[in-house]
């Protein structure tokens, strides 16, 4: 038997300001190390240090615990000591324009090359027209042209002369050229021709045919001559363009002589400029017409064709990049190829390739939120593929899903070397580990963040320095030691454990900011304990609308909760309701009815599917307890029904199982239970009371109901003894206990609890195995034995009447 009426000091573990040894946070040194996350820190250090494939990190822990800050801090520290990675540019692939080439350059040189190529384009725009407008070019091209024209005219003139000598002339028709006999300037008519002597007609015909043949031959040779002339002009054009471009490109070649890839690219540029010199003869920015583009293959203007898309440019002052992508969509991670509308169609080229987060983080670190990645279509798959292949292959979603087969760009893949850190909660980590076999291969380092740390004098001092650091970083008013102590106490309450402190940094930061706010409102120079308390109260008040409504309905008698008197088969249970980040406790009436039956405890919540699995388990344990505790020699012939009265939503958890057992015992023994007490705690088959969650909220919930009705000193709550260390109750509860107006009892067994509830002895079996008379257990056993005997008689009667029939 271990019933303890707890003292006020047992209900709240205060932080002693004397132990803190400072007046205000102004005197505290900033905390450089991370507290309470030793395991996580060790994991991050290991993860960012090891340079092997697959050793990416997954930081798991609840939101707001400080995963991002901690990871970023250690990653940036490491990044500073690493070399700055390369710049990456995309340039035109002159042989296969739809497959742009990637160019790797030392940090900072990507931008330089891009600017210099722009300058080259400008220079070519001036230099190339200049050589083609030069006297030299005019003269040389004219020579070729005139040579061809003269040759042609000579040939035609020769034929014409020969024809004229025979009274025949070359005549142009709408579609070609022909020969006909003439007289003067006129072609002879058919009548005139017919009047000619037969011999003359024959001669004219034969001469015409001979001339026709010569003419045909002359024309037949024409294409070949034209081609020769065209070739000469082409050679001349290339010679002139090469002269104009060569000098300009040589300057760049000298500068980048030690970068083979750039030299190769510049050689390609030179060859292409010579081939496509005409694009520099167009006015700046003018695109070739559709027909011209088709005929000449000049898809791009000079502006784009020779540009350098400096896609990733490094800051030469920093180390390796650390990138956090807030919107990790597939395209934002892998990069994208943009398009622009031109004459009703969408077109693109290598200058429209945009870097993704992987490009930016290449050679460094990329931090992503796991949930955001998983919520973006294809992002997870794209990320894994990049990590597995160690390269960034840019594919549009259409290409990737094979839904679109139109021609698009296929940029050359870029080698990838990145350390990826995913931030997420534990549930996602364990789900990915279970469901995605590749996950464990790619994220070998789990950085597990703890949501609490030990509370002791030393850790409280460190916690105080953490608070001081936050205060200074956020430029808040200084906190005095009492305020810091109150923050520490609230931190213990946040984790519902007097011996622990919360490591949830966001909640802590919020409390500090809000305390600062209230202090300033009250024109305090320093944040005091009352400011912190006001911040806690205000935050609670902002969230407790539902709690107030429920309390109000209890007060008004809509929800039936007795806080005085005694009732058979009726116990005040306690439950916790969680709404967002706010939890509160409430009493619930639990009732039990018993009758003779077939060893069945009916959980009405479960029957109507309002009871969760754990709750049902707790109820089933009751049958085990009743059978083993009271009916060792007889079958249990009991049908009992248990119900949470006025409960209209799902009941989960086994924290009410002790209350249900008390109600059953009361119903069986017909002994009334004090309604001034409320009960929480789960029970096992041996009748031992086990710890439950939310003990503080539950006690406060019943206290509030009693407080409104008036505390008379009889009211209180029975809790499991193992929950004593979790107590961090409100100040008003502690004061009421101190004054003897309210009580908190801890118990270890069902017998402890039933004695408190009934004021009677539970009773232990004596040496003969019998419970003492007038004890509760004796009454229960007697009732169950009676049920069993009556059941046996009933079954015997039924069987004998059945046999007679």
């Amino acid at each position: 038997m271990a019933i303890n009426n707890l003292k006020a000091s047992d209900l709240y573990h205060s932080c002693d300001t004397k132990q803190l040894r400072f007046k205000t946070t102004a005197r505290l040194k900033a905390l450089s190390e991370v507290i309470g996350q030793e395991r996580a820190v060790e994991a991050v250090r290991f993860g960012v240090g090891i340079q092997r494939d697959g050793y990416n990190l997954y930081a798991l822990g609840p939101n707001g615990i400080g995963k991002y800050s901690l990871v970023r801090r250690y990653v940036e520290e490491k990044a500073k000591s690493k070399d700055i990675p390369s710049d990456w540019c995309y340039v035109n692939n002159f042989q296969q324009p739809y497959k742009p080439n990637a160019l790797e350059l030392p940090p900072g040189m990507g931008q330089e090359l891009s600017i210099e190529m722009e300058q080259l384009i400008d220079d070519l725009r001036a230099a190339i027209p200049a050589v083609f407008e030069s006297e030299e070019y005019r003269t040389r091209s004219q020579v070729v042209e005139e040579e061809l024209t003269e040759r042609k005219e000579r040939t035609i003139a020769k034929i014409q002369k020969a024809a004229r000598a025979k009274g025949i002339s070359l005549i142009r028709t709408p579609t070609g050229i022909t020969l006909a006999p003439i007289r003067g300037d006129e072609v002879i008519s058919i009548e005139e021709f017919k009047r000619l002597p037969k011999k003359e007609r024959k001669r004219i015909k034969e001469d015409t045919e001979i001339l026709q043949e010569r003419l045909h031959k002359a024309f037949h040779e024409e294409p070949q001559r034209e081609k020769e002339a065209r070739d000469k002009i082409t050679i001349l054009n290339h010679e002139m363009a090469a002269y104009a471009a060569g000098n300009l490109i040589d300057t760049l070649r000298k500068k980048y002589h030690d970068l083979t890839a750039v030299i190769d690219y510049l050689n390609d540029v030179e060859a292409d400029v010579v081939e496509h010199f005409r694009i520099f003869l167009r006015p700046e920015g003018e695109k070739p017409s559709f027909i011209e583009a088709q005929l000449t293959g000049a898809e791009q203007t000079s502006d784009t064709r020779y540009r350098v898309n400096a896609m990733v440019i490094r800051d030469t002052n920093g180390g390796a990049p650390v990138v956090y992508e807030d919107n990790p969509s597939y395209l934002n991670l892998i990069g994208r190829v943009e398009h622009s509308a031109y004459m009703g169609t969408l077109e693109t080229d290598f200058t429209m390739i945009r870097a993704g987060a992987l490009h930016q983080a290449n050679g460094g670190y990329l931090i992503l939120d796991a949930l955001k990645v998983l919520m973006q279509p294809f992002a997870w798959e794209g990320l894994k593929r990049a990590l597995q292949s160690n390269e960034i292959r840019m594919e549009s979603l259409g290409q990737m899903t094979s839904l679109v087969s139109t021609v698009s760009l296929e940029p050359e893949p870029i080698p990838l070397q990145v350390k990826l850190v995913l931030l997420g909660d534990r549930r996602i980590y364990y789900l990915l580990s279970y469901l995605d076999p590749e996950f464990s291969e790619l994220f070998k380092v789990a950085v597990d963040f703890d949501d609490r740390m030990d509370r002791n004098p030393a850790s409280q001092k460190l916690y105080a320095r953490l608070i001081a650091t936050m205060v200074h970083n956020e430029k808040l008013l200084e906190f005095d030691s009492a305020a810091v102590a109150r923050v520490i106490e609230h931190s213990a309450r946040m984790v519902s454990d007097a011996d622990k402190l919360s490591t949830h940094m966001r909640s802590l930061m919020d409390l500090l900011r809000e305390s600062d706010h209230w202090a300033r409102e009250d024109e305090h120079k320093i944040v005091g304990r009352e400011d912190v308390q006001q911040a806690i109260n205000a935050a609670e008040h902002r969230a407790d609308r539902i709690r107030d409504r429920v309390q109000e309905e209890i007060e008004r008698g809509t929800l039936f909760i007795d806080t005085t008197g005694n009732k058979v088969g009726q116990v005040n249970g306690l439950s916790v309701i969680k709404l967002g980040n706010f939890s509160f406790g409430l009493p619930s009436r639990i009732t039990a009815r018993v009758r003779i039956g077939g060893s069945k405890v009916i959980d009405i919540e479960r029957e109507v599917k309002l009871g969760g699995a754990i709750h049902s388990k707790g109820v089933m344990i009751l049958s085990g307890y009743l059978g083993s505790h009271y009916m060792l020699d007889h079958p249990l012939s009991l049908t009992a029904s248990l119900v949470f009265e006025q409960s209209y939503s799902e009941v989960e958890g086994d924290s009410a199982s002790s209350a249900e057992l008390y109600a059953l015992i009361s119903a069986l023994s017909d002994i009334p239970v004090k309604q001034s007490l409320a009960v929480t705690g789960s029970v096992n088959q041996h009748g031992e009371i086990q710890p439950i969650g939310g003990v503080n909220e539950k006690i406060e919930g019943f206290f509030d109901v009693c407080s409104k009705r008036g505390l008379d000193g009889t009211q209180g709550v029975i809790i499991p003894a193992s929950n004593r260390k979790h107590l961090m109750l409100r100040d008003d509860v502690c004061k009421a206990v101190e004054k003897g107006k309210f009580a908190v009892y801890s118990v270890e067994t069902i017998d402890d609890g039933i004695e408190l509830l009934t004021g009677m002895t539970a009773g232990q079996r004596d040496e003969s195995g019998k419970f003492p008379e007038d004890s509760i257990n004796s009454g229960v056993e007697a009732k169950l034995t009676e049920f069993s005997t009556r059941m046996h008689a009933y079954v015997t009667r039924s069987e004998s009447s059945g046999a007679k029939e």
């Binding site: 091209s141 015909k205 015409t208 045919e209």
Partner: protein, 290 residues
């Protein structure tokens, strides 16, 4: 110029059309002049009788340089091709008339080209001629030098003046006025080719021209024609970078029969301005631009 309008009324500007590039340039020049004077634009297409005759001959074959094919010629096909060309030219005429906001008409004549055109000169106020030949320019364009240079230097063939031959001030002032109008409209310079026999006469002619033009025409350039040879005229129009040449119908170039020789050597069209207004209505079908 207003004072001279009544003396220089031009009601109809005709142009000889034959589907060549030169005739397109001539059409453009004629349309601009007609638009500047709000005159009617008349297209004249001559079906060359020589082509019909040669098509009747049983042994004539045509070589087509573009496709390098050879085919027998017959009358039916030749007439069809000529009609097709005429239709194309009529459409071009109507299109440009619509663009310029002037009325137009089109007529087809059949006969010897030069004779028919010279006959037409007498029927209109202004006759626009160019180097004759259905395919002459197309044929020229097939030469490699032309296409290469045109591709390398687009637009380099642009001319920068309107030229007019001005001999006897009283008789040729109509051509001068028309040239001034055209130069104004096209925003080009005006080159006046003066044909005085002596320096004194040339000076007189310049003064006459200045008086006729008044102050309304800018960028006037006087060029003295050193002789009456066609070669002199070719040189003068080339040096003034002429886009178009205007000449009085009584000028020796026209009357003396050297016009065709001149046209063979230049590519700019010639506008022959009749000394007096035409006294006969056009026999063509008038069409009103939309």
């Amino acid at each position: 110029m207003n004072a001279l309008n009544t003396e220089t009324i031009i009601r109809r500007v005709a142009v000889a059309l034959d589907a060549s590039l030169a005739s397109s340039q001539a059409l453009q020049a004629a349309a601009e002049l007609a638009a500047s004077l709000q005159a009617e634009l008349e297209g004249i297409f001559i079906e060359d009788i020589n082509l019909i005759r040669l098509a009747e001959l049983p042994f004539t074959r045509e070589i087509r340089p573009a496709s390098m094919t050879e085919e027998t010629v017959n009358v039916q096909r030749m007439e069809q091709e000529l009609r097709s060309l005429a239709r194309q030219e009529q459409q071009k005429l109507e299109l440009i008339a619509r663009e310029k906001g002037i009325s137009c008409s089109f007529r087809i004549r059949r006969g010897q080209i030069k004779a028919e055109l010279m006959e037409a000169v007498a029927e209109v106020d202004v006759m626009t001629l160019c180097r004759p030949g259905y395919v002459s320019e197309k044929f020229r364009r097939q030469t490699i030098g032309y296409s290469l240079r045109a591709a390398a230097f687009p637009g380099q063939q642009a001319r920068s003046s309107v030229s007019v031959i001005f001999g006897r001030a009283q008789n040729e002032k109509r051509a001068l006025m028309a040239a001034a109008r055209l130069a104004d409209r096209l925003d080009l310079g005006l080159s006046i080719l003066v044909t005085g026999d002596s320096d004194a006469e040339t000076d007189n002619l310049q003064r006459e021209a200045d008086t006729i033009l008044g102050s309304q025409t800018q960028r006037v350039n006087f060029i003295r024609l050193s002789g009456n040879q066609v070669s002199d005229l070719v040189m003068a129009t080339a040096s003034s970078n002429s886009q178009v040449l205007l000449v009085n119908s009584n000028n020796s170039l026209v009357a003396g029969g050297q016009l065709w020789h001149y046209l063979e050597q230049v590519s700019c069209p010639v506008l022959i301005v009749r000394e007096q207004a035409a006294d006969r209505e056009s026999p063509g079908t008038p069409s009103i631009p939309a």
